[in-house]
């Protein structure tokens, strides 16, 4: 497959390929079948692959995620769709206490080749219970892997790589990206699941981000270029493991870093990245690493308030200008 696709179509193409290519693969989750998926990612797949391979589940997040773990133990390659990260809280026990521990607790007897996909993030005026960005929590858990495809090509390619992984892989798709169009060339799909990607190279400052914020960072970088500031934009792609080398390489070049993360600031993944730079590149830094995260407030419904709560291209520009002004 080559050419222009939306992110949604890329996810669908990846799902179709997975179902067609491996009889052990099946998809289950709320409304993935008849409804076509809350974000239409699985539209048409029930008709194409049948009810055994594309399974609508009751509203029982903890149980169908746990069943995905069990099915993986039983030799299948389940793809579980948890409609959104907001509902994944109900399944967190299964994820933290089973998916992540079974291999270790069994002394290496078990593997859990499970793939879990979920939509994440804010920006659609869905208010406090439907706008979480909790992928940073998942990145805290040893035993699982966490990725966040930000491009159409990664949406297409990461699922394939995740299915080849013998351990649980969690894929976070930012809900704002589904309608986004991009180029896909199956011949040139990502071959690696865990390495960060430089989406724009620059020398003055590194903007480290992932998922939905990538595009805001790139937009900000273009504006800054007009002011003569060349920002390098690093797309983490993998949140666990983090590509610490890739981060250090860029910071060693630019000596300045801003981490942009849609999660609440305190205890965000942005903090981890700042701490790692502190530990790994302290003496390379010309200025303290800065963080731009969401305001520490349950997401408000009103558009102007939600916009103010989230990182934006304009606030990224301001943050970088601010860093440059600082001493050192």
């Amino acid at each position: 497959m080559t050419g222009k696709l939306t992110y949604r179509e890329a996810v669908r193409a990846a799902l179709r390929e997975a179902l067609a290519g491996d009889p052990r693969v099946f998809l289950m989750g709320e409304d993935v079948g008849r409804y076509g998926g809350a974000y239409a990612c699985s539209k048409g797949l029930l008709e194409e692959f049948g009810g055994d391979r594309v399974r609508d589940t009751p509203l029982s997040e903890s149980t169908f995620v746990g069943a995905g773990i069990g099915a993986a133990l039983g030799g299948m390659r389940p793809i579980v769709e948890v409609m959104t990260v907001n509902f994944s809280l109900l399944a967190l026990d299964q994820i933290v206490n089973n998916a992540a521990t079974l291999r270790h607790m069994s002394g290496g007897q078990l593997s859990v080749p499970l793939v879990v996909r979920m939509a994440t993030g804010g920006g659609r005026q869905l208010a406090a219970q439907h706008s979480h960005s909790l992928e940073g929590w998942y990145a805290h858990i040893p035993g699982i892997k966490v990725v966040a495809p930000a491009t159409v090509a990664d949406a297409r390619g990461m699922l394939r790589l995740a299915l080849r992984d013998p351990d649980p892989v969690f894929i976070f798709e930012h809900a704002m990206l589904y309608p986004m169009e991009g180029e896909v060339d199956d011949a040139a799909l990502p071959r690696d699941l865990t390495r960060a990607a430089v989406r724009r190279s620059g020398v003055d400052v590194t903007v480290i981000t992932y998922g939905g914020s990538l595009w805001k960072a790139l937009e900000a970088a273009e504006q800054l270029a007009e002011e003569g500031i060349e920002a390098e934009v690093l797309d983490l792609r993998s949140l666990r493991p983090l590509d610490t080398q890739g981060i250090m390489a860029s910071v060693a070049k630019t000596h300045r870093a801003l981490v942009v993360d849609e999660a609440w600031r305190t205890g965000s993944l942005a903090a981890e990245i700042s701490a790692q730079i502190m530990e790994g590149a302290f003496y390379d830094l010309d200025a303290p690493v800065a963080r731009l995260c969401s305001a520490e407030v349950p997401m408000p419904y009103a558009k102007h308030l939600e916009d103010a709560a989230l990182p934006q291209a304009t606030t990224i520009v301001d943050a970088i200008r601010g860093m440059r002004k600082r001493r050192g």
Partner: protein
């Protein structure tokens, strides 16, 4: 006999016209909301209650001002039937500071503590434990109150449903569980999310008294709710009502409705709770054409005013973004 299918309830004209008016207010309010959604005045998720009006209106009649309500993201009807003015509700959906929740909540999160309306909950099943807790507070403080908890058939699949019924029954808490069984959880028909679809039986197995009610018949809903509300209020334990109804519109404004046929929807529309009730009232000589026209007119006026309240409402200043995350010390 003039009143054929009438339950054992005195029918005073004012009261039945009130029921009709309440249902109509919800219908017209939501038709307007849908219209405003298409022009972008209202955003986010919008879940319409159209077709299910008899449930909220019928049930609300049995509740007093002291009783509490916990509802879902599909709560426009419950809020209106509870007596929250349409203006602040419309303003909330606009995201205005004069909205019931200051524009922080939107369509899914209506709150009005002065009317003991405790939301507006968007996590399926998660309102039930809150209702259990409100009832526990009443029980511990010896207040003869009911907490009415509305939720859908889909919520029955969530573990919290079973946990909440067990806890309420175990502690004999005054919770009235009102399950709005509209036969679908989003796009999943009940037969595909419940192995055993008799929901009342599940409630009984948890130790509750349970009944099934025609949720398209406002008088039947009112009668059933009145029958049980007092036993609940007296502390005889929680009660479960399954209200059989149907959603005429899509699940939300994003739903292409691939999972059901136009015919099925049309079949159910024959049982439209408003049209059928109006017909009965006509049969009973309780409603005339001029009555109906007047009703439509007053409701239309109310909706118009509501839109004006929303349009003219102020925006919360961005400087106040992080207010109401914590309670200013000193309170309560």
């Amino acid at each position: 006999m003039p009143f054929p299918c009438l339950p054992n309830l005195p029918v005073e004209r004012d009261r039945v016209l009130h029921l009709l008016r309440e249902m109509l207010r919800i219908r017209r309010f939501e038709e307007k909301a849908a219209e405003l959604y298409t022009v972008g005045k209202i955003r986010g998720f919008l879940h319409l209650y159209i077709g299910e009006e008899a449930v909220a209106v019928g049930a609300m009649q049995a509740l007093t001002a002291d009783d509490a309500i916990v509802a879902t993201y599909r709560e426009h009807g419950h809020a209106l039937a509870r007596g929250i003015p349409a203006g602040p509700l419309m303003a909330e959906m606009y995201g205005k500071a004069n909205g019931v929740s200051r524009g922080r909540g939107g369509s899914m999160h209506f709150f009005d503590v002065s009317r003991r309306f405790y939301g507006g909950h968007a996590i399926v099943g998660a309102g039930l434990p809150i209702a259990v807790g409100l009832a526990l507070a009443d029980r511990l403080q010896g207040r003869p109150r009911v907490t009415a908890c509305f939720f859908g058939d889909g919520a029955v699949a969530e573990g919290e449903f079973h946990e909440s019924l067990n806890l309420a029954a175990l502690w004999k808490l005054p919770v009235l569980f009102l399950c709005e069984n509209n036969l679908y959880a989003m796009g999943t028909a009940i037969a595909r999310h419940q192995a055993q679809p008799d929901l009342a039986r599940k409630a009984e197995s948890a130790g509750l008294c349970a009944e099934v009610v025609d949720g398209m018949d406002v008088l039947a809903v009112e009668a059933a709710t009145r029958r049980v509300a007092d036993t609940v209020r007296l502390g005889l334990g929680p009660h479960f009502l399954e209200l059989q109804t149907y959603r005429f519109r899509a699940h939300s404004m994003y739903d292409p409705e691939l999972y059901r046929t136009k015919e099925e929807v049309e079949q159910w529309k024959i049982r439209d709770p408003i049209a059928t009730f109006a017909t009965r009232l006509r049969e009973w000589r309780l409603l005339s054409d001029p009555d109906w026209a007047a009703l439509e007119a007053t409701v239309a006026g109310e909706i118009e005013d509501a839109v004006r309240v929303a349009e003219e409402g102020p925006w919360e200043p961005v400087a106040d973004l992080t207010r109401d995350v914590y309670t200013p010390s000193g309170t309560p």
